[in-house]
Amino acid sequence: MSIGAAEGGPRPGTGRPRRGTGANAGRPHAALALPGVLFFLFFAALPMVLAFCLSFTEWNGLGNPRPAGLANWRKLFDDDRLTRSLTVTVLLTVVNWAFQTVVSVLLGVWAAGRQRNRAILSAIFFVPFLLSSTAISLLFYALLDPNFGIIHGETLGSTDGAFLAIVFVGGWQFIPFHTLIYQGGARQIPEVLYQAAAIDGAGRYRRFLSITLPQLRNTATTSGVLMVVGSLTYFETVLILTQGGPGTDTAILPYLMYEAGFKSYDFGYASAIASFLVVAATALSLLLVRLSGFGTMRSTREGM
């Protein structure tokens, strides 16, 4: 390819060397990006704006939405299910994050070792991730069945049991994935750091705490953002395992919205909940990005 190009390289007098030699030569035209941007704007950004608009209307899914002013928002902030739901959502996010991060860091660093037994076990550990969340939720729905399951008892009937079941099922599915991310991160830690520490006489656990963990900071951010956003969207797990129950004790925000929209056909109210969810998710991610410098991540590995 470059041979043919080289022949035409000097090309006298065609005005090829644009504006000096360098910076702008061969920059792609922004139009190349346009289809992607438009597609995303249409199917992801526009609906978000629409959700906000719909939250000021009353609509049961048939006919056209009718303006309803602030009614939905007033209802939202008067709804004590929202406070409960918000608490459960935040609690679930935090507990999920903690559980999945601790296990994934340990397993990921462990799997980063090149031993053969670790490679074999890692291959097995990855298997749960091959099932869809729907399949996994159904699996645990069956295994927690009081008449049939592993645990004969009403696990899903108690508030704590249902909550822990959701956390466990989420972890069971996503820990393999996050383990993989941490494994990749741990393998990129420069060997020299460990060599230096070993010369200084640092033991295994000391090296883990003082080198591995700090070096995994960026990995932790990526994985953390994915976990937090993931927890906000645990939907099928809740729908299949607990249906928000017992009562509304595990009705996280997305489930509350689904119920309002597609069970009670109150799409205006569902949109208000959805807008609230967007604001909460965006604020949370911005906070995480700020706290951890996700946006500047590209440069942190340079020079290593």
Partner: protein, 299 residues
């Protein structure tokens, strides 16, 4: 299992002396770590027990299952549950899912590779803004937009079609795709572009002859990631489709709950069957799959 796990590192720990290649430098991490060994066995149990229970239970005859413990192997194992599932539209759902996954991957790659290329190679307000738009997009939960999307899909006459699943799924896979692709395109050094520019290569030609070949890793990561999004997708199919025609596997599984009711062995057989296609891919292409997914975490 414990006998497998613990002594092994001892052997490999002693090995490096006999192995003068580069592996030797890791020798201090190769001493056996009893705590890690123990932890790995605990996690192995956590992973294996549900999988084991799922498989035994799916082989249990229906009348034997009630009041039984899922961990107990069936006295008279049977494949009847699998045949029940296979006769309930399973292949049709699987086919729809495969179609949707292929379409989603195609759309995401065709749209995102040029986009990421532009985002990396141009420095202007708009490309920066576009990049930030997608960065924020990572945080938008798909749940938040189902109501308006439902309205849009209905107005576009797409309700209850595979496209109603494909288009939004592709859109919501884009943010992570862009993040991964910009990361891997950024790794191509400036000099290579300059050399090609000196050779008179057009930006489009650089895209095809430089950017795409050099970011194969990122592209396969994005392919795998978007295929999994389509494979796992549940909410969009639940809300945007209704009839048997465009039903995908996840929704088919969900419907088995009401169809099979208390027939838990059949339900679990459907779960096992739904896992087999990806498990087959995993067996054949584990390295590519795992390596690709690792790329989601940034290189």
């Amino acid at each position: 299992m414990s006998h497998e796990t613990l002594p092994r590192p001892v052997k490999t720990g002693a090995a490096p002396a006999a192995r003068p290649d580069g592996r030797r430098r890791r020798h201090w991490t190769r001493r056996p770590d009893p705590l890690a060994g123990l932890g790995s066995i605990v996690w192995l149990t956590v992973v294996i027990v549900p999988v084991y229970a799922m498989i035994t239970a799916s082989l249990t005859p229906r009348d034997e299952a009630l009041g039984n413990n899922a961990l107990k192997p069936p006295a008279r194992p049977t494949l009847a549950n699998y045949s029940t599932v296979l006769h309930s539209g399973f292949f049709h759902y699987l086919w729809n899912t495969v179609l949707a996954a292929v379409a989603v991957v195609a759309i995401v790659l065709v749209l995102c590779v040029p986009l990421a290329y532009v985002a990396v190679r141009t420095r202007g307000f708009w490309s920066g803004a576009a990049f930030r738009l997608f960065l924020l997009g990572v945080a938008i939960p798909a749940q938040a937009v189902v109501v308006p999307l439902y309205l849009m899909i209905a107005k576009l006459n797409l309700y209850d079609s595979l496209l109603a699943i494909i288009l939004p799924t592709a859109a919501f896979a884009m943010p992570v795709a862009i993040l991964v692709l910009t990361g891997s395109i950024r790794d191509i050094s400036e000099e290579v572009y300059e050399a090609m520019a000196l050779d008179g290569a057009s930006p489009l030609r650089m895209l095809f002859q430089l950017v795409i070949p050099m970011s194969k890793g990122g592209i396969s990561t994005v392919g795998i990631y978007s295929a999994l999004q389509a494979w796992n997708g549940f909410l969009f199919p639940l809300i945007f489709t209704q009839s048997e025609g465009p039903r995908v596997l996840t929704l088919g599984l969900f419907n088995y709950v009401s169809q099979f009711g208390v027939d838990i062995p059949a339900l679990l057989a459907s779960v096992v069957l739904s896992g087999i296609p990806i498990f087959a891919v995993y067996l054949v292409a584990r390295r590519a799959l795992v390596g690709g997914l690792m790329g989601v975490g940034g290189k």
